[in-house]
Amino acid sequence: MSRTRRTLRWAAAATAVALTATGCNLVGSGEDDSGNDDASGENVTITVALVPDPPGASEFYRAQFDQFEEDNPGITVEVLENPSDQQLNAVELMFQQGDPPDVFRAQADGFDRMYERGWVHSLEEFVTDEFIDRFPEGTMNPSTSGLHRDGELYTLPLVSGKWDVRVLVYNETVLSENGYDAPPETWGELEEMARTITANGGGSVFGYAPTSGKAGAVEILAQTATPYSVVQDGIDFSTGQPATASPGMVEAVELHRRMQADGVMVPGWESWDGARAFTEFAAGTMAMYPTAPWHIAEIRKLNPEIEMGIAPLPVPDDGRVAFTPTKQSFQPIWSMSSETEHPEEAWAVMDFLASEDFNRAYYEQFGSFTAIESAWEDQARENEDQAAILSAAEETMRVVPNPMLLSEGGGELLRARAQRPELKHTDAAVDAIINNKPFLPIAQALDQQIQAFLDETLAELSGTATIEDITFPDWDPLENYTPEQ
């Protein structure tokens, strides 16, 4: 092979590598295509990262955005879907790679994760009085909305705060067959009814199940027996002291431990995921369980004929100690990227997501109480299931102090606490229930660890946070809390 031919082959190979490496640019325009032709006044593409949840959400969102595109000819909405448990990581990765979505779904604590990293665009410049007026009166107060940070609106909701209610669902037929004409009102009644139904069930019908393998039912029932902050963080916000070993919390675990030890609960619940409880209930396997309200629509979809009742949660035998918390008016859901190149168009999409039409369509599709109550309230009152949920929400929810919103120090402390999941009762409670261990000594040990954590963290945060930031001595868990208290 001559030197010239060899040289030519090398040149050809080098060219091929170079062409491959730059292939994307050659195939595309060679320019950033994320913004399309905004400058020329043509179409703008807005990417929306969301989760295809609940079932059917993919088709629903696409249909809604198709409608939006028809009404807004200059904007195309590109949907990016991620599984619920991977959404945050996926969006974070997109930010790190320099290609974030324009609008993304980040729920609850996930929003704060994004906010703390400076990835969220303030919405203050877009908000109008008309926009605020869409939401129930008082719910957009910056100190209690749950959507504001440092007094500015940063995120928009999807569902109403009333959707945070927890209820007891029960199978009326099963209860009636076992001689009960009403759901339990106390934990004692719940246990007695569950035992009877399981004993009569012949191994195919059981009285009760604890919602999921993480024993979510303990948390739900404990909301009636101890201040919400004990359930959430192991700290009583009325005293600022660790309180996992408080009587209500301990009894919530012990109730389940007794029923587990005696085989009262549906076997196999220990490995259930979040969807299994409503599937089993719809199949008639169990008579009752405490749950979030979205299960109810899923049960109806699976078994439209089921005779299902919805009741407020049963309370401890000695009486109610606390209510289901309303920590804020709304949960954060929709946020705009701080790096979007098209804030106006991104806001148009967000405005649509917070419109009465979208809220009504979402409610009609999934049965969830959306943030704009006027979109669904009348219909909900006429629907037996939804009227029961609304009634339970009005009866069993109370506004509580939320240190995350009330002070910077409170936020710092609770964020630090969230970094120590082992201090929460969840794993210890499951261990006690499954392995039949008394919970009180476990809870007392947890309280010691929480106290050590508080001492250590307060020392680290000296000057920015004090125990007073998470202490509200005037707060009565049986009454609505107002920030002025």
Partner: protein
């Protein structure tokens, strides 16, 4: 004879300039480049980077900056949950080595017989679980093993083998053995293929020579086949050991490490700290440290087997 058939060695290019040798092998090096780039980018770099990240308190966002030395390693080594998960991972491997490996060999010897009718069908049936998506397997087994309506429990109770339904995946005492059983079943096909490939490297001539020399089938297996399998068996053993030690998808799809972490393995432990959406911020640095410790322990266990394996290898090779 063998030496006569061996290709003649080319005279060493003594004194040839280095540049000429480079030119001579230039294409070989050029073809190596993509492989080296891919290996470097997707194997070597992540490995080195994860070790580096393990020394930081890092949530995965931006460049790691909070250097904490060996704190993450100390936390991992002092974590009871990590060692529980490690023990569970080890049990997966142990079961694969003492159950899956010999059982697959027995079946491979059977299926390697030319007189066995329909052997390809059997091979296919045994290999099917390998190519079935683990998530599907997880769902199917959860249904089969359900304590209320599962076919397995119905059969067991109807036959009177158990008094009441067995809570296979929900009981802390049965969940891990159940998952190990499913893992052995799922991995069985690939181990079988390894053994079949190894068996097919043994020349027929040697079998025939053994038979002519008067050996029966059992003697042929004992004194001819098995010794010749030893060098490949060592490779198969290491492959099975590594695969089973890294079981993740099956656990994640069926129990997510529950109930109460009874089936937690090191990969699910790492996953929890790196990606759990319920953590306020992921602990990538800590997860990297757990991965590094796990990698080191795996290496150590592999090396511990080395003297024994080397002896067996030499014995088999001679």
């Amino acid at each position: 004879m063998a030496s006569l058939l061996a290709p003649a060695r080319r005279p060493r290019a003594a004194g040839r300039p280095r540049a000429a040798r480079w030119r001579r092998h230039a294409w070989s090096y050029a073809f190596l480049i993509p492989g080296i780039l891919l290996f470097g980018g997707f194997s070597l770099w992540p490995l080195i980077a994860s070790w580096w990240y393990a020394f930081f308190d890092w949530d995965g966002v931006g460049a790691p900056s909070n250097w904490i030395g060996f704190d993450n390693f100390r936390e991992v080594l002092g974590s009871g949950a990590f060692w529980d998960a490690f023990w569970h991972s080890f049990l997966f491997s142990f079961a694969a080595l003492v159950i899956e490996l010999p059982l697959a060999l027995v079946l491979a010897i059977l299926l390697n017989n030319a007189w066995l009718r329909g052997r390809n069908v059997y091979r296919l049936a045994l290999f099917l679980p390998v190519v079935t998506t683990t998530a599907v397997i997880g769902i199917v087994f959860a249904i089969l093993l359900d304590p209320i309506r599962g076919v397995v429990n119905t059969a067991l109770t109807d036959l009177g083998l158990v008094g009441s339904a067995v809570n296979f995946l929900g009981d802390t005492t049965t969940a891990l053995p159940t998952l190990i059983g499913i893992d052995v079943w799922k991995g069985f096909g690939i181990t079988l293929i390894y053994w079949l490939a190894a068996l097919q490297t043994i020349p027929k001539d040697i079998h025939e020579a053994a038979l002519i020399d008067g050996a029966n089938s059992r003697q042929s297996l004992r004194f001819v086949v098995l010794p010749m399998l030893v060098p490949l068996a060592i490779v198969i053993l290491l492959l099975v050991f590594q695969r089973s030690l890294n079981t993740f998808d099956l656990v994640q799809a069926t129990t997510q490490g529950g109930p109460n972490y009874a089936t937690d393995v090191v990969p699910t432990y790492i996953y929890r700290f790196a990606f759990d959406p319920f953590l306020q911020a992921p602990r990538y640095g800590f997860a990297c440290a757990a991965g590094a410790v796990f990698g080191l322990m795996t290496l150590l266990i592999t090396l511990l087997q080395a003297p024994l394996l080397r002896g067996r290898y030499k014995a088999g090779a001679t």
